[in-house]
């Protein structure tokens, strides 16, 4: 009997995946009532605080059917946010089935569709679930109809579940057994195990999470990674229960972890295939796409002495998060730091927060940008992910920028505002598709750079929170782009350069200058703030010289207050960055971000 079921839970953000996973863990006894907490699998501090899943979590459970049969479930809970779509894609690879969760009050949203399509592409069996049916606003009939329309199932196939109350969860457990196919158990073939995740443990090094597709991996086996042929002994293998549970072997169809004999397993790459050194497989498991960074930003230590600590912290983060990329960068204004690549803004925010919190490093980040392709006059095509590295205007033949296809699902009442937003952001209309319940899916092609900023926030506020957004990269397209430089008393501030559409450059230049004028404190001399394209100054503002700055009263009772203030000012001053003779506060480097929509 094939008693293994490998499946994942997919959905739009917040539709209740992790909560539903809690119930499955609870009902199968994978976790004791005593240890139970909400969204159990979200074990990172940040996940718990923000109430969102950032990383996929795999967990094994033992399920005893009412009829007495025993099953092994390997569940992967996935994140819903668009930035982490690649986490979903890798989870799907390790499964035969997917529970598609739809919030019975919200209905189908952008990531419901994109994640579903990914699962269908991988030939997974889909179990549609209407979740949160306990909510007063739940509308199972209409939303169920949406699901029927979307995946072409029968309404009766849709389970009605509440992850909160546990209603319908028993049925779901049975449905998993009945509907999700058991994995193929091709144990006689040469070993092929897919690495679908890896985590880093300070004491044990990198730990690979694998799904054995074919063959058997035993403890002590000499294995190799098929991407680079590095060889290791399988020092420990085991199952991914609430605690790692060592075992002797992982057989075809099973999911578990592998710890190699070398601690610094830098070689563990998600998507790679493990095979055995004797009797190796011929081909790795195909079709795994590496997560590609979409957004780039400079990260600099506030205190130059922290550079090595920052490097070490980024290294550590990367061991758990292969989608984070970074390379050293030197800025005249900010000193030594790194240019890091992220999957999206949320990902960037999370990395920045982890650096601050888990590693206690104060950092300054620069305004994020996308990666451009630049065709040089002499014919070469180079990639530029740092505005300050944009070649001189005369050397550029053309600049290409990444475009995405955005699908936005919104109540029909908000079509107007959504279209206006897309139009303002240089969007190209593709189509709109009316769905059940007066909803529309609007598709636009947009320059990625226009979405990176605060597109999502604007979309949400323009639709009272109802719209959802999903996007994917499509291609690079030629754009009329220019590099906008900022100069302070004639010195260019490299970290403030940005790339923008020519039509928006003047406006942006004026606004950045005005914002900097506000943020740069008065100094003993006048400071000219200029925006320039090449040698041409297109905007100018002036920070007037300080004329008066002295405390009026300083007697017996004022002295200690004044000294404390002075201590604070000294701290603040240490954090200032120097460009030429001008001192600028750190916030200035994010000036463009803190501007209002109309300002941009």
């Amino acid at each position: 009997m094939n008693n293994i079921r490998n499946f994942c839970i997919i959905a739009h953000i917040d539709h209740g995946k992790s909560t539903l996973a809690d119930r499955l863990l609870q009902k199968t006894g994978a976790i004791s009532e005593r240890d139970m907490k909400e969204q159990m699998l979200d074990d990172m501090d940040l996940e718990r605080e923000r109430g969102i899943t950032i990383k996929s979590h795999a967990i094994r459970m033992d399920y005893k059917r009412p009829n007495g049969e025993n099953y092994i479930f390997n569940l992967i809970d996935t994140p819903g946010h668009v930035d982490f779509a690649y986490e979903v894609s890798r989870a799907l690879k390790a499964c035969e089935g997917a529970i598609l969760v739809v919030d019975a009050a919200q209905g189908i949203e952008a990531q419901t569709i994109s994640n579903l399509y990914q699962a269908i592409e991988q030939n997974l069996e889909i179990i549609p679930v209407l979740n949160k049916i306990d909510l007063p606003g739940a509308d199972p009939e209409n939303i169920g109809q949406q699901i029927v329309d979307l995946i072409g199932c029968d309404y009766e196939d849709i389970l009605h579940v509440s992850g909160k109350t546990g209603e319908g969860v028993d049925e779901l457990l049975e449905e998993i057994v009945d509907k999700v196919p058991g994995p193929k158990r091709e144990e006689d073939k040469p070993l092929r195990a897919l690495i679908f995740d890896s985590i880093f443990n300070t004491y044990r090094g990198s730990i690979a999470y694998v799904r054995v597709m074919e063959g058997v991996l035993r403890k002590g086996d000499l294995f190799k990674f098929m991407s680079n042929l590095e060889e290791y002994y399988a020092e420990e293998i085991g199952y991914l229960k609430m605690k790692q549970e060592p075992t002797k072997e992982l057989r075809a169809g099973e999911v578990g972890y592998v710890i190699g004999s070398v601690k610094s397993l830098q070689d563990v790459r998600v998507g790679d295939t493990i095979t055995k050194v004797d009797n190796p497989a011929k081909e790795p498991i195909p079709g795994y796409q590496e997560a590609k960074p979409m957004v780039f930003s400079g990260i600099f230590p506030t205190d130059a002495d922290d550079f090595e600590d920052l490097r070490a912290a980024l290294e550590k983060l990367q061991l758990n998060d292969a989608s984070l990329t970074y390379e050293p960068e030197t800025s005249k204004a900010l000193g030594f730091g790194f240019r890091a690549g992220f999957l999206g803004l949320l990902h960037m925010e999370i990395v920045q927060e982890r650096l601050d919190r888990e590693f206690d490093i104060d950092i300054i980040t620069t305004v994020p940008n996308v990666q451009y392709e630049v065709e040089l006059v002499e014919g070469d095509r180079i990639q530029v992910d740092n505005p300050s590295q944009m070649p001189a205007v005369g050397d550029i033949e053309a600049i290409y920028e990444p475009y995405i296809k955005a699908s936005i699902i919104t109540p029909a009442d908000y079509i107007g505002p959504v279209m206006k937003l897309c139009q303002d952001r240089r969007g190209i209309y593709v189509n709109q598709l009316f769905m059940q319940n007066n909803r529309v899916e609007i598709t636009y092609e947009l320059p990625m750079a226009e979405v990176v900023f605060d597109f999502y926030d604007r979309l949400k506020s323009g639709t009272r929170g109802y719209a959802s957004l999903d996007y994917e990269f499509i291609e690079y397209r030629k754009g009329d782009l220019v590099r906008l430089d900022i100069l302070l008393n004639g010195d260019q501030v490299d970290a403030l350069s940005s790339i923008t559409h020519r039509d928006k450059a003047y406006h942006l230049g004026r606004k950045v200058c005005a914002k900097l004028k506000e943020l740069i404190p008065q100094q003993q001399f006048e400071v000219a703030v200029q925006a320039a394209i090449g040698n041409r100054v297109i905007a100018r503002d002036t920070v007037r010289a300080m004329r008066k700055d002295v405390t009026a009263k300083c007697y017996g009772g004022d002295i200690s207050r004044k000294r404390k203030l002075l201590e604070k000012q000294k701290e603040g001053k240490k954090r200032m960055k120097q460009v030429g003779t001008v001192e600028i506060p750190q916030e200035a480097f994010l000036a463009v971000l803190s501007m209002d929509e109309d300002d941009r």
Partner: protein, 378 residues
């Protein structure tokens, strides 16, 4: 040598810019005086009574809300506890409290220096500041003062008010000068967050004047008083030569002082020790009346580094500046290479002079806070 500061925490009404500690309720005046006398006696035969008392300063609040008899009883207690060798005993007074009898009363109680809180003679400005006195009262109190036995006195002035023109300021200065004061304190209006003014500024109802304008006010004060022979000796203090305030100057020289009354601060640096102490009473009359002055409300210990920085902070506000010799011998402090370079630049720009003393010029004094911060972070 040491100074005594006595805080009298009563005012008739709250001036809009003021964040001193005071209550407008006058009920507990006598209780307060009694408590204050207890606090004074608590120091009997302690280390604080071994230093001779050179100055006594009654500040507030509004010390002129006490009767001359109450002031006298406080002084009497002081005399019986401390070794008073006073060269200056000042009482702050508000124009609306001043009568001929009051002046002669406090004079015979032992006050020898009057500090008059005039602030302005302009009716609009007095209203804006929410002062309790009128322009007429301001004039009259100075007339009384002139014809009284007080030959040492000082007058307070506030400039740099929103909407205040140079002309109005000039008129205020000229009016004061008619009374030939030996000493003037002129403050640029400071917006403190916890005041009515601060709140109005935060709400955008009042816009403080631009710093260039305040700088022009400042220059006008300095120049007008200089013409009258009243020289700036500190950012906000001006005197005829030899008439500088001793008590306040001592603060800037790190002379010891003991503060009595709610909210009063004390500073004590035992000679030859590497640390000094500063502490304060809780700014709260009710707690004060419950003897909470027995325990310091806030206290800090200052090491040499902190003392040196503080000395620079205070000294650079004065026209005589700070002697590098003093910094070395008393504070074991000398300027670093970078600091000296920066000071050179200041001299080139006409903002400082560095001979035996480092001192700021009028130009430098106007941005003394910036300069100090620059020096300390070089």
């Amino acid at each position: 040598m040491a100074g005594l500061y006595i805080h009298i925490p009563f005012c008739k009404q709250a001036c809009s810019y003021c964040d001193f500690y005071f209550v407008t309720q006058q009920k507990y005046k006598q209780e307060f005086v009694d408590e204050l006398i207890r606090e004074i006696y608590s120091h009997k035969d302690t280390r604080f009574t071994t230093d001779p008392i050179q100055t006594i300063y009654f500040g507030g609040g509004t010390p002129s809300l006490l009767t001359p008899a109450q002031t006298g009883s406080i002084l009497e207690a002081i005399y019986s506890v401390f070794d008073v060798q006073a060269e200056e005993i000042t009482l702050e007074m508000n124009p609306d409290d001043v009568t001929r009898d009051f002046l002669s009363g406090v004079k015979s109680a032992g006050i020898d220096r009057a500090s008059m809180g005039v602030q302005s003679f302009d009716t609009d400005l007095l209203n804006f500041m929410h002062r309790a006195h009128t322009s007429g009262e301001a004039l009259r109190c100075l007339e009384l003062l002139q014809s009284s036995d007080f030959n040492v006195f000082t007058v307070d002035l506030i400039y740099g008010n929103p909407g205040q023109s140079l002309e109005v300021l000039e008129k205020d200065i000229e009016t004061i000068l008619q009374f030939d004061p030996p000493h003037i304190s002129a403050y640029s209006l400071t917006v403190e967050p916890q005041t009515r003014l601060g709140k109005q500024v935060k709400l955008g109802r009042i816009v403080p004047p631009e710093d260039d304008k305040v700088a022009r006010h400042f220059d006008l004060v300095v120049n007008k008083l200089k013409e009258a022979g009243i020289m700036q000796y500190e950012v906000s203090n001006y005197a005829k030569p030899g008439k500088e305030a001793i008590h306040n100057s001592n603060y800037w020289d790190h002379v010891n002082y003991l503060g009595l009354g709610p909210g009063a601060h004390s500073f004590w640096w035992e000679e030859d020790l590497k640390t000094a102490h500063r502490w304060s009473n809780k700014p709260d009359l009710r707690s004060y009346l419950k003897q909470e002055w027995e325990q310091p409300f806030e206290q800090e210990t200052l090491n040499m580094q902190a003392l040196a920085e503080e000395r620079l902070m205070l000294g650079l506000r004065t026209r005589k500046g700070v002697a590098s010799e003093e910094l070395k011998s008393r504070y074991q402090f000398s300027f670093s290479e970078e600091q000296l370079q920066y000071i050179d630049r200041l001299s080139d720009e006409g903002k400082a002079i560095f001979d035996q003393n480092l001192r700021l010029t009028t130009k430098g004094l106007k941005i003394a806070d910036t300069i100090l911060l620059d020096i300390l972070t070089k």
